[in-house]
Structures are given as structure tokens and as C-alpha cells.
Symmetry: D2
Subunit: 390 residues, 4 copies
């Protein structure tokens, strides 16, 4: 069980680009990063409105002169300092991820970036090469995968407790965009503008969470072909989609189905993951992240609770609150931030052996998400037909 | 609320073909038919084993001389009697439905048949014409659609409480065939033999329930095109499927997804129906048939309970136990049998006006189910590609 | 699994007193009695309004001349007939139970009576002696105890799967009387009139269900002392109660708590039973009667489903619909009626050996319910203080 | 929605007594205190084992020379420093709370103490007077009451949405002490030793959470009399209890029942709160803290989700993650710590107006918890009889 004791030598000097007062995402980054003394928030370019950004940053405890107007200013201001930022989180609209990440890496600063990482796999490959060259880490905030019971599912699959995997059923839906966008907030508007959001809306915004979590649980399964049928129920969102279904054929013969939607009116259930094997299934939802349904064919259904001694060690190791006490999304983000911090620390120490086995959502995870989106769009653009996964 | 008072002039003299001691389906027919005094079980050819069938029928209270060896014997024996059967239920393997139904109709006997009705639409059309010519009813036991809250969903859609329908999400899965068929019962074996089961296994066996219920709730929605991807995870079941996914485009632009499987290991949840509109969604499961989830975007989610005064009249009229008291599948079957009895009674009385508006699963519902299966198989056989619905 | 085959030699000729068109309880009796060919409804005094009662009975298929105005008429009319009723169900207000039961027994007719059986233990003892003398059965419709998973709980306790019983937690509440009785139906009004309802309202009306079910599951536990605190939140119901809490000390040291209320506003959950042992607990609710929660300390929680092969034989034997298919309250009543029919049949055949081990809610169960009520009232009247159970 | 911006002028210099590596409670304090920049952990006497405590504190980022062996050393070491601690959390066994709190207050240090606060109301009153005299705050970590939906319940009651309160149903149970204490950890052992735990075990350990939360939701309801029946199912725990039931009569005529137990084998549901009014009820559980059941009699049951615009402003103001994203116990503790920090800040600033309306669990809440325990024990010691609440 994680209890807050340091797992890296000293706290990382941390900055943010984006994540200001008017959006919700910034707090998720901060509540994830700041609870364990692993990061210290020392700088930021929090807001497009420089004045508001400075006021906000100051309120977070950042020195006023380290609250910058732009990411360029931040890089310029921090690069010279002995106590300059070592790692910066990018919590800005999608279309800026690539440019900001590149600039930070070129300045020798580690990056933690929102998903979907970039617009194209080509961009991902370029950034991966740059990070490699600079000896820097790029983490991606797939924030749901830090829950202890996600690790539990992965461990159960690895031990063969499900048998051969047959069916992968993934869903992340809500109804908050069931109406049109006439009253949409700024934070919402850019998501349906291809120039700012990239080639997808809900596939990238929420579908990549599904895809990455499935990779964590099923690292050995590879997609052979897929079919994506997408649609904008609110026409102004076209060519981007507010609803999509993806069918998947995996290389072992397994079948997948995936549903993302932001027009599932009234739906509060959000995510649902079900992995079906020849002997048993596991099912987990982020709505009740402390419970895992484990169903062995022919036996009573079982509900596993986080933090209980009967769980696998991999799960218990990343538990924070202990059995009976609920964990929330913030605890999952805290683990993600911790694991990225450990990667940065290892990189700094040149500990490549640690990095070989250390699991965290890095540049590869970000790249695979973008690759999956490219395949989905290719299928959708071909009228929802099957495409070989490339 | 239905309380057992007669809704037809006198009980129908009823017989069964199949539904004997070794299977489970017969009791569902009897518990549905016999609780309200609408049917009297007076004859049967219950079993391929004539002796066992007679012993069984006698135990059900049928006179020994009216327990027949075959449906041919039953027709021969009953046709001559003044008190001969008026309606016969067919609860035999799929491949016998067509022949037995035809023989019964030719003998002037109404028919209630298991789903999937026949193997082809051509057979359905032929039988429909025969029934029409003879002035007889063919009912189909889509046994889940008698639940009061199914009527409630239909009424809510009709009143526009969901807005424009956008998404139809259907699932009927279980895991009872997750293992291979080496120990399969006779009742299971024929289902995976194309000669006896017809062109499908789970699509026909359980998928037709999903399709018919969606027709009840959404009578105005028509399928424009669909895509069916099916697979036999247990190879011996090929070319039939133990898992299938169907994507649907409706004529109003709505999107559907449907999942049937009997290899969903450990799954006891069974059926799930979700209808999403532009304003709200309803969701119902046969596992807890007394509750209906009604989710209006932006408002608290609501749980409606059967039998409560706030429900629509259509739902309350077919309630049997009243609020607080659970109804089960038997109550739903009882309604289905009652509605078919009312159709037979009206037919007998020549009351075509009643039949015009009376809702029950008849030959048309059976035909539509077979048509849907034909389209699914055509798509699946074309490699899981989109086909126009014909 | 019960499938409708006869378990007694021939159907019982059955009548009803009460249970007419204006109440809900009659249908529960009929749907319980009539589905298996064990009872044939041949006579009745269904209604205080003789005309309405005749119309109603005729609609149920009873011959008009056997639809009587009163129970006295019924006894007079039926006694003389060769095909007269053998058993009569009493579904009238509480204050008439004793008189009608006595008259029926004196006429040589078996009785099935609603709970609470009578007003006093003295009356129960007198009727028990009369039934014994006449060689007749008195059954009591504790209608929830016919569910297969109730038998499962009893079997698990008997096998020691829970360890030593420590805690008994019982609840039957709803909110249908949260408002005052100004608009109460006739069927409701008498329940709060001590002259007609007896010494209790909710304790007798719904609490006796809890108590009897706990006796079925825990036949060896005896109450040593109890404390009952009751209250009428709607003053016009006093001295009767619409809310009561009972604490119990059992002879083995176990502790019980019980809650009955009809002012639990909005509550649709109804009954909840939890039996806690030194090693494990079971929990069941009539709201989802097909599921049983089995919780072994230190292990994953388990959900058992009715009809599954892993259940105890006692439970599977009384299952009707099979796994995956829901059972409702009607199925439970059907089992209760069947078990009483078997008792009557055995009594008729003089099979005392069968009766010794046959489990059904008989006069003893009815008496114990009344005894429990007497103790509750004695405690409540003493200011909610502890009383030794007598 | 709270987003981490400062609500007090500058972070408080914070220390801990107890909360070391071998227990679980320390992390709850730290994850609550450290996520918003409101507290900085600068000192601690974390462990009875001074060496282990220093190692642990250092790992938390505390300077080695400010990791003390005892609370006396901490006071001695910090009092002299300009940057000495301003507030200290006491997370030690119950019997030390009084002495440590007194010493800290006498040294001019604010205190945040675990529950149950002290052994007697007399001690509470003495400490309250001392705090008053010194101008210091004593906060009590009733850690579950920081959830946004707890505030929602309080707001709904205050607005009369439930009508007149009639029933208060409280439960906090688990099964982790179902076995005997032969293998109990140190952290568990002292809890059943009256010298160290005080006059109660589960009543104080978990029951006080129930009582305080009910006070938050129902500030106007006062207890008139109560009855407590307690028992040690594991005899070695006597005279303390591992199971207790409390019945309550409130001054407005409402009735309460409360259950605490640590021998509820297998139970993972933990806490359940139900408040029943004349018109409607609310029900909340810490197991799924993001949902609130709101049941209006005669209407569909409603499920309210945290962070949704339809909630009361009091609830939304303390939300951290936003709708769709789960909050956990850590988020609730964070609010509690924040509210206490605001109280300390106001005290420091002499802002008594703010303190008059600011809601946080302070010395009064701690005192009321101890008063309730004293009444429970008095009743239990009198054989579980009714006592007037004093």
C-alpha cells in the first residue's frame, strides 16, 4: 500500500501549461501531482489570459514572476534558472500538444501531456525520437489506469485466470453533448473543431482511455482489423463524431466491440470494461472503481474489493486508502503522476534497467492511441468498412 | 391491473406438441397459459418417447387417450372430437416448426409457436397466407415482451418523452455455452446443428427476442442497413455462431448495436435494452424486470417501478402483482398467452376491428424475426459487411 | 425443478372467502393456486357485495350458483354436494379469520388463511385443537417463503456454512402510508382499526412475514427476550403503529433487530433479510428474489443465482423457471399453495410420516406469528421495555 | 467547485503526532491535508519507535531534526523556532488524545484530533475552555462528512424537501473483527482495551461517525432519550462491545435506529444513512459516495450525482472532481482539513464573524460525540434500558 513515503530521491520541480481557472482539467493534474510530495508546482503558463493566469498561479502558491503568459515565456524564464522546472504538464487543447511538447523537449524539460497526444502517428514518432535523443520522458495522462483494480485485472489475465481471451467489451459514454453546442463553453467548443481537436471528437477525447486501458489489461493482444462507424447526431459537429462504434478482430481470434458517445442522454455510468475469457470474465467500471466483478462460468459471481488481502500484489502495492475506504479518480491520477515521476527519476539517474520493466503511460502509449485513432478514421471514412490495422 | 377475470368468453381447449419432461421450455408455456383460466390443457404430443410423453401428460392432468405419440396422431385424434383442441403450442426444435404449424393450420387449429418461427421468410409468407385463408391465428412466444414495463417504454417513446430516437443498444448474453458441447444435453445439441437449428444459433435463439422487443418499443423505426459479424468460439458449432455483433442504421438516422452471445463466461445479467433519444433514455433488463431506468439529460436519474400510479395506463393495465411485489418471467408469458387468446377469440368471433389494434406477437412478428435473421446471415456470410435491409 | 407434474393424486376442489374484485390479495391466492392443476376453483364468497361477488366469481369461471353471499352460505351450499369444496382460502380482514376458520373446520373443510392468523394465541390454540380433532389442515399464506433462495439460506445455515449465528437483521418497510388516511381505500381503512385489524397494524401486516421467514431459516434459534418500540406517525392510527423497531436476544446469544414501517417515504426496496454468522453472512431481498448475497469474511463477496447447479438440492427442487429466468412473487405463492396441498393430500391419506417432515406454513407457524405479536405489544405497552418471551 | 486555489492567506506549518508507517490512518491525514497547498508538513513525532519515526518522517520530506521521538520533544523543539509548527494532528490511540491535545494547546499550537475525541465530556469541557482561553482551534477528523452529497442532504433537509423528519436510520458495520484477536495487529489491539480505547470500542471507533454526520444533516433535531444494547461476540473484548444497537427518540417525535458492528461477517458495504421525512427520504452510503438516493413518496425514485448543476450550491461549492468523475474518501478528508484550516486562519485573523457561520467539525462536534457515547454506555450498563439524554 502506498502511504506517501518518497519513491524518488527528491521532489520534481514542476510546471503547467494550461489548466487554468476556467477549465476542470487542471485540478485533476494538480490533485494527482501534489499529494505525495513528488512534485512541487513552481511555474506555469496557466491561461491564455496572462493576467488571469498570473492571479490564478499566485493563488496556487506559485511565485508571481514564474507565472508566465505563454509556454515560450515559461521556457525562456525557466531555462536560465538553477531551480528551473524539470517537468511540465501540457493541459491545453489538442492542436497545441505537438508544438508545446517539442519546444519543452528541446529546452531539456520532461513533458506530461494530455491525450490524445498529437494529431498523427508521424508527429508521435518524431517526438519519440526527439525525447530519446534528449534523454527525456514524455508521459501521457491516461488518468483512469492508476486504479488498483485495473492492475488487478491485468494480473488476473496474466495468470490465466480468465482462460483464453475471447471478447473485449468497452464503453465510455455520457450525455453531456446531447443538446447542440449553442451554449457550449470555450472548453467544449474547440473539441468539435477539426482544426483544434484533430481528426476526431469522442474517439480521441474519451475513446483513447478505453483503448489504453485495454492495452494495460491485455498487453499481448494485437488488433488485426477493425471497423469504425461514426456519426455526428448534432450536425454542426461533422465531420467529427459524437457517437462511434468500433468492432475489432484481434490476432488470437478474439472479438471486440467498443462504444463511445457524448449523446447518450442522461447516462451517468460512464465507463465499462468487460474482458471475457474461455473460463471467466472480469468487469470494471470507473463509476464504482473500488469493485471488480469476477465471474467464473458455473460458479457464483464474485465481487472483489480494492485493498483486500485476496488481491494480487500488483494491485495492493498501488492501493492508497485501504479496504472499506473509497478511492476516487484523484487517487488514480496520483498513481499515474507517481509512476511518471519514477520514470523521470530513473531517466535522470540513467537507470535503464528500471525503465525496461516500469509500467507507466509514456510516449509509446500515446503513440498507440493516435495509431488507433488513425485506423478508426480510415475505416469510418471508407463508409464504416473493415480495415487492416496498420 | 389484470386480476384473472375472463377476457374471452370461455377457456380455449389447448394442446401442446413438445414441451415434455426432459426440457425446460414446456413449463414456461404451461405456467403462462394456465394461470388465468383462459386455456385448458386437454391434449398433447409431449415427447418423442411416446410412453414417457403419455406418463408426463397424464401427470399434467391430460386424459391418457389424449396423450399422443406424434403431432400427426394428435391432429388425427382431436379433429374428430367435438371437444377437440382449438389451439396447439409448438415447443419443438426449430426444424419441425414449419411442418407442424402447416399441418395444424390445415386441420383448422390455431397455432402458438416458439421462435425463431421458421427457417426462411418464404416459409413464413406461405404460412401467413395459409393462416389467412383458414381464418386462424399464429402466435409466436416472444416471452419477454409481456412485462408491464416493456409497454411502459413503448408508451413513453410514443409520447415523445425521449425525443427523437438516436441510439438503440441491445444485449442478450450468457455464458452457458462457454465450454465445448461434449457434455451437451439433447436440448442443447440440436441448436448447433444447421439442419435442425436453421441458419443461426444464438442470433435466432436469443437475438430474435432483442429484435422483437425493439420493434414493440420502436414500431416506427425501420432498419435501412445492417452489418453482422458472427463467430463460433467453439469450432464445432461453425458455421453457426455462439457470438455475434450487429450494427444497424435506421431510416431516421438512428444507430443500433446489438450483441448476442452464449460464451459470455459467467454472465448472469442476460438481457439489456437501452433506447436513447435526443432528450432522454430508458433502460430495462429482464434481470430486474420490475424496474425501469429513465434518464433525462441534466436531471437526476429516475427509477420507475412497475405497478405505480405514475406509469402509463398501457403498462398498468397489464400489471398482475401490483407495486412492491415482484413479477417474473412467468407473468410475462401469461400476458403473451392471454393476448394471443384474445386474438384467437376475436378471430373466432370475426371481430376484425379488435384485431386491427390488438397488440400481440403474431405471424407478422415471427416473419420479421426471420427476415432480420436472413439479413444478418447475408451480411455475416459476406465477411461482416454492410447490407441493405431487404 | 418443479415443472407442473402432479404431486398429489388429483386436484383439490377449492373455494375462497374474500379476495374479490376490489382488493389486490385475491389474485395472489389464485395465481398461486391455479397454475399447476393442484387446485380447481369451484366456489366462493368473494365479496361483501353479493351481486358483485357473483359477477366476479362467474368471470373467474365459477358456476353462478356456487358464488355465495357469505361464508355461511358457502358452507351450507357446499356441504351437501358430492363435489363440494375440500379447502377454502380466507382472504378477509383480520377480525373475521377466527370465526370463518372455525366454521369451515367444523364443516370438515381444510383452511388456508391470511396472516396474521388470529388476534390471540388462545384463539390459535383453540383452532389448532379443533383442526387436530377434525383431521384437517390450516395453512397460512406467508407468501414470500416459497422462493427457492429462502430454502437455500435455510440449507446453508443448517450445513453450518455461516458458523454460529450472531446477528439477525430484518426489515420490511414501504412508504405507502406516509400520508394520512383521508383518502384511504376500504382495503386500507380496516387495517388501522383495532377492532378489525387486531392489536397491531404493520407488525401484524408485514412484520409477521419477517418473523416467519426468520423461523424458516433459523429453526433452532429461540427468542429469549425482546423489546418493541412502536409509534403511529399518523396520530389517527394510534394505538396501532405505522412504524416499529424490535430488538431481540436469542437463546444462543445472538442479537436481532427488526424494522417494520409503512411510512418509510418513497422506499420501494421492501424486505431485506440478513443473517450473520461467525464465519459468513447471507442476505436476501424480495425485491430481487433471484439473487442471494453470500459473504464469507475475508473472501470476495459472492452472488448466488436461483436455479444454478451449485445451489443446494432443497433450493433447486422448488425452482420453477430455471437459471437466467426471473421468478416473481407468484412463483413463491405457487410453492406455498403446493406445499399446503401436499399437506392436505397427506392428511387425507392419513400419511402422518410425510407430515412429520413436510415443511409448509401451517397452524403452528400461524400461532408463532401471533405469539410474537403478543410479546411485541406487551413490550410496547410497557414503554418499549424488555420482556421475557412467553 | 473547489480547484485548489488558496482560501487562506498562506499555508499552515503542520505537524503530526502518530500516523507513522505501521498504521493506515496517517496517510488519510496527509492525503487530506497536503493536496491543496493549505498545509506544509514540517515536523512530526510519527512513531513510538523514534528511529523508525525519523526514517519515516524523512521519507515524507520532513527535515531529520524535526522528526521527534515524542510529542513533548516536538513541542519543545518547535516552540522556540520562528518557523515552528502552527497546527498539529493527533493520530494516536484514544487514551493519549487528552494529554497531547492539552500540551499542544498550552504551547499555543492548534490541534486536529482523531475521534473519539476524549474519554469524558468533562475532559472535553476542560479542553474547550483551554482552547477558548488560548484562542486556538481544536478540529476533529470526522472524515466522511466532507463529501459534497453530505452537504446536499443537509441543504435538502433545511429547505424542507423531506417534510418533517420522522425516521433516522444509521449503520456503520464491517466484519473485520469477526474472528478473535489472537492475530490482531498492534493498531487493533489497543482498541479493545478499555484503558486505551476508553469506555467503548465500535461505538466510539465507528459509531461517532454516524452520529456526527446525522448532526450535520439534522442540526435542529435533539435526542430526548436513547437505548443502547451492546455486546462482545468475542468475549475477550468485554466489557467493550463489537456490536451495538441504539434506539433514539428525538424531541420532535422522530425515531432513530443505529447499528454499529465489526463482526458483520463479510460485509463490505460499510456506512448507510437514511433520513425519512413525511414527504420524502434521502439515502447515502460512503461506499458509493457520488450518488444520493432521493425518494419522494409516490414518484419515481431519483438518483442524484455529485457535481451536477441540479444540486444545491452548498454541495457544488465543495465538489472537487466534477460530475462523471469519482471522488473518494481522500477528497472528503481534504475538505475537512480545508475547513479546519479556514477556521484556524480566521482565528488567527480574529475573524469571529466568519467563525460564527463556518461549518467544520470542531471541539463542539467532538464533545457531542463523547456525550453521545456516555449516554450509550449509561444505557447499556443499565441492561439496555431507556435513559434520558443528558
Amino acid at each position: 500500500m502506498y502511504n506517501g513515503e518518497k519513491l524518488i530521491e527528491r521532489p520534481l520541480r514542476w510546471g503547467m501549461v494550461g489548466g487554468g481557472r476556467t477549465g476542470q482539467v487542471g485540478y485533476k493534474h494538480r490533485t494527482g501531482a501534489l499529494r505525495d510530495g513528488t512534485y512541487q508546482l513552481v511555474a506555469g503558463a496557466f491561461d491564455l489570459d496572462a493576467e488571469r493566469g498570473r492571479d490564478f498561479g499566485t493563488n496556487l502558491g506559485v511565485a508571481p514572476d514564474r507565472c508566465y503568459a505563454t509556454h515560450q515565456d515559461l521556457i525562456a524564464g525557466e531555462t536560465g534558472r538553477e531551480d528551473g522546472v524539470e517537468v511540465v504538464s501540457v493541459a491545453t487543447p489538442n492542436f497545441t500538444h505537438y508544438e508545446i511538447t517539442k519546444a519543452l523537449l528541446n529546452a531539456g524539460i520532461h513533458v506530461i501531456c494530455e491525450k490524445p497526444l498529437f494529431f498523427t502517428v508521424a508527429e508521435c514518432d518524431e517526438i519519440a525520437a526527439l525525447a530519446e535523443e534528449k534523454g527525456l520522458i514524455v508521459g501521457v495522462t491516461y488518468g483512469f489506469t492508476g486504479h488498483p483494480l485495473v492492475r488487478q485485472m491485468a494480473a488476473m489475465v496474466a495468470k490465466g485466470m480468465l482462460g483464453e481471451i475471447r471478447i473485449v467489451d468497452l464503453q465510455y459514454t455520457h450525455g453531456f453533448n446531447a443538446g447542440d453546442d449553442s451554449d457550449a463553453s470555450e472548453a467544449q467548443k474547440w473539441r468539435t473543431d477539426p482544426a483544434k481537436s484533430g481528426p476526431t471528437f469522442v474517439l480521441g477525447d474519451i475513446g483513447t482511455h478505453l483503448y489504453y486501458l485495454s492495452e494495460v489489461v491485455l498487453p499481448d493482444l494485437k488488433i488485426e482489423r477493425l471497423l469504425c462507424d461514426r456519426k455526428a447526431f448534432i450536425p454542426s459537429r461533422a465531420p467529427l463524431e459524437d457517437h462511434a462504434t468500433v468492432l475489432t478482430h484481434y490476432d488470437n481470434g478474439a472479438r471486440g466491440r467498443l462504444w463511445v458517445s457524448s449523446v447518450n442522454a442522461g447516462n451517468m455510468g460512464s465507463q465499462r470494461y468487460r474482458f471475457v475469457g474461455s473460463k471467466a470474465s472480469v468487469e470494471w467500471s470507473d463509476s464504482h472503481p473500488d469493485q471488480l466483478l469476477f465471474e467464473v462460468q458455473g460458479e457464483p459471481n464474485r465481487i472483489l474489493h480494492h485493498g483486500m488481502p485476496y488481491l494480487e500484489e500488483e494491485s495492493l502495492a498501488v492501493d492508497r486508502m485501504g479496504a472499506l475506504h473509497t478511492e476516487g479518480l484523484g487517487d488514480s491520477w496520483a498513481n499515474i503522476y507517481l509512476w511518471i515521476a519514477q520514470a523521470i527519476d530513473a531517466k535522470r539517474r540513467g537507470d535503464e534497467a528500471f525503465l525496461k520493466t516500469h509500467r507507466y503511460p509514456g510516449i509509446e502509449a500515446g503513440t498507440e492511441g493516435v495509431r488507433w485513432l488513425e485506423n478508426c478514421v480510415r475505416s469510418a471514412d471508407a463508409g464504416g468498412s473493415w480495415v487492416e490495422f496498420e
